[in-house]
């Protein structure tokens, strides 16, 4: 049976390299369904990623695609978007990729409000390299480099994106793929820098080290630690501890960077004339 997914993937690349039970495929499905809902032309889309399991997504989609260096997907995407603002540029990153090595690029892409959509697959660990803790690993949880428990405080990526100036910020999970599809669709449709964090599962690294042996255990855990934005707002600080709000946090309109640069071109041409 042919599905909507078949229209958008590079079949030669399958089977994929992800472990059984990995959430990355659910996110890939959500991205594809969102794009299909929007009716975008495949030739107009560029998918850019960094390094890690999640970043292999760009190899599986039948768009112009780029699997770049660790943490640098956003500046590569910035160059593409600046050069050709007509392209629809989607950036897929992992939690370590986006918030550690790519943290500076992330806040600056948000500050510029450049018209890119950043989708961060947050499995709370470095999966590809074997389960080291990331800036999004919750305090107290275990990783291969946190054998006695993680003492770092984790980032709230959504709050970080809001503070840095993004136009659209949301969080979904792989437990709620329909909601995630809908959030990604809104993000893709938004002019300016849009961010969707998807909480995902890494059963072989995070699960194994944190007493969740099966993918099902992990999905149940994701269900338990997440609450809707509406319910979240009614929780006390104590009740919020260890939990994540999901849903849409911000959607505002602010000129995107490429539009502002068009104004610069106008000004330069009026004052200086053609060189």
């Amino acid at each position: 049976m042919k599905t909507v997914i078949d229209e958008y993937i590079r079949k030669a690349m399958f089977p994929n390299m992800w472990c059984p039970g990995c959430g990355n495929g659910i996110v890939l499905g959500a991205i594809i369904r969102a794009i299909d809902d929007l009716g975008w032309d495949k030739d107009e889309i560029v998918a850019v990623s960094g390094i890690g399991c999640s970043s292999r997504i760009t190899g599986y989609v039948d768009f112009c695609s780029m699997n770049t260096t660790h943490g640098r997907a956003l500046p590569f995407a910035t160059g593409i978007k600046m050069a050709n603002p007509d392209l629809k540029v989607i950036v897929v990153m992992g939690d370590g990729d986006c918030s550690a090595i790519g943290g500076n690029h992330f806040i600056h892409a948000a500050r510029r409000n450049i018209d890119l959509t950043a989708i961060i697959i947050n499995n709370m660990i470095y999966g590809m390299t074997g389960g080291q803790y990331s800036p999004l690993t919750p305090t107290g949880k275990f990783g291969s480099t946190a054998p006695y428990g993680n003492i770092d405080q984790s980032f709230d990526l959504a709050e970080l994106a809001i503070a840095a100036g993004a136009s659209y910020v949301a969080r979904g999970t792989v437990y709620n793929p329909r909601q995630s599809t809908s959030l990604i669709k809104k993000a893709l449709d938004k002019k300016g820098f849009s961010v969707v964090e998807i909480i995902s599962d890494c059963p072989v690294s995070y699960g194994k080290m944190n007493k969740m042996k099966s993918p099902v255990d992990m999905l149940k855990w994701i269900k338990d630690i997440t609450v809707s934005k509406k319910a979240w707002d009614g929780l006390s600080p104590d009740e919020k501890r260890g939990k994540y709000a999901i849903g849409e946090f911000l959607s505002k309109d602010r000129p995107d960077y490429t539009e502002l640069y068009e104004e610069i071109i106008k000004k330069a041409q009026e004052s200086g004339g053609n060189k």
């Binding site: 590079r10 030669a12 690349m13 495949k42 030739d43 107009e44 560029v46 850019v48 390094i51 760009t58 190899g59 039948d62 768009f63 112009c64 695609s65 780029m66 699997n67 770049t68 260096t69 640098r72 956003l74 500046p75 590569f76 995407a77 910035t78 160059g79 593409i80 978007k81 600046m82 050069a83 050709n84 007509d86 392209l87 500076n104 690029h105 600056h108 640069y261 610069i264 071109i265 000004k267 330069a268 041409q269 200086g272 004339g273 053609n274 060189k275």
Partner: protein
């Protein structure tokens, strides 16, 4: 040396300004950079001039991001430039490797200052010659050019863009603080008088396009993103389709083809100039601002009846191995003055294959090498 003609468009330009002028003539339409001495004027000129012609300038959050943005813009179809100095060049190495493995045309200027680390921000150096060759990890080819006058900065910037487009490779332009900041008379060529090369495009329909399958010259045609050719780019070793491969035959063929793309076309890429070498028994080999002093040394030495000549390198990498080998058979002595502790001299010794004496002359105190001290070195060496 500059062969300036009267009645032409002549300007008094700073080296960094000449670089910007050259880039504009070559068709640059995108610049991403980060402030750093002594290259910042290139960014400032680009910020002012690019929007006038519909080009784009962006100041990124760091040097790493600048290199990434330049590569992204080039893939999307714009000729792209970035400029930096040693500390920034260190940071660019990561994505420079990405541009090499994915054969993305772009030009990277390194206005060299003293190093290592923060070093000597406002003083010249030639300490990054080997970094230009081997700075990013893994076996890879590179093209690096080194002008010695402001006029040459303009002409070699155009060459750098042309080589980058022709061979689908990043090209490094090695300036130093002195030629980057000094002002000289420059003849700006008319656009119709210069050769501008653009990347070759695929001639096959999208369904037949193999983005990394080379033509006979070793260079694959390049479709820009957004032109209807959907393909994948990855920093992983890839096959003709651009998809990751772990097939050892494909890996070997890829790395060798990447290397040979530059090496087999070395004759087209290598440029140098000869002064009084025909009858020379002593050869100076120099590049960048030191070549200026060496040229003067040749004149002074000739006045003393010493048969001294100069081989001025314009192309640093690929290295002119055969030229130097031939020269070593002709002369008794090669002296290599450099503002480093002896980098290109290593390559020159290798090329000379023991056929003549090769002697370094080095300064690393942030001061220029002057003609008199090179002459002193000649006198000292001929006594031996």
């Amino acid at each position: 040396m500059n062969n300036l003609k009267k009645g032409k468009n002549i300007k008094l330009l700073q080296g960094n300004e000449a670089c910007a002028e050259g880039a504009l003539l070559a068709g640059v339409r995108f610049f991403a950079g980060y402030p750093i001495t002594p290259s910042s004027e290139i960014a400032e000129n680009m910020a002012r001039e690019l929007p006038k012609i519909g080009g784009k300038f962006i100041q990124m959050e760091d040097e790493i991001a600048s290199m990434a943005a330049v590569i992204g813009a080039s893939i999307a179809g714009l000729k792209s430039l970035t400029a930096t100095s040693g500390p920034g060049m260190c940071l660019k190495q990561e994505n420079l490797g990405f541009a090499i493995i994915n054969e993305i045309p772009c030009v990277v200027v390194n206005a060299q200052r003293g190093g290592p680390s923060t070093g000597l921000p406002t003083k010249p150096s030639q300490g990054d010659m080997m970094q230009a060759r081997w700075g990013t990890h893994g076996d890879h080819p590179i093209i690096a050019l080194a002008p010695s006058t402001v006029h040459e900065i303009l002409t070699l910037t155009i060459k750098a863009f042309n080589f980058s487009e022709k061979y689908r490779t990043p090209v490094i332009l090695l300036l130093d603080e002195v030629i980057a900041h000094m002002r000289e008379k420059v003849e700006i060529p008319a656009l119709e008088d210069i050769e501008v090369i653009n990347r070759k495009k695929p001639t096959v329909p999208p369904e037949e396009y193999l983005p990394f399958k080379p033509d006979e010259d070793g260079v694959p045609p390049m479709a820009n993103f957004g032109e209807g050719y959907r393909y994948h780019i990855t920093g992983l070793i890839h096959n003709y389709k651009g998809l990751p491969t772990s097939n050892s035959q494909e890996i070997d063929a890829f790395i060798r083809r990447l290397y040979n793309k530059i090496q087999k076309n070395a004759k087209d890429i290598i440029m140098n100039e000869k002064y009084f070498l025909d009858d020379a028994k002593i050869a100076l080999i120099a590049y960048g601002s030191v070549a200026r002093a060496a040229e003067r040394t040749v004149k002074l030495a000739r006045e003393e009846g010493l048969k001294v000549g100069l081989l001025k390198l314009l192309t640093i990498w690929p290295f002119c191995f055969e030229e130097v080998n031939k020269l070593a058979q002709q002369v008794d002595l090669i002296i290599v003055p450099e503002m480093n502790l002896g980098q290109m001299v290593l390559e020159i010794e290798r090329a000379a294959q023991g056929k003549c004496r090769v002697v370094p002359y080095n300064r690393v105190d942030g001061e220029l090498i002057n003609p008199i001290e090179i002459l002193g070195k000649i006198r000292e060496e001929i006594k031996k």
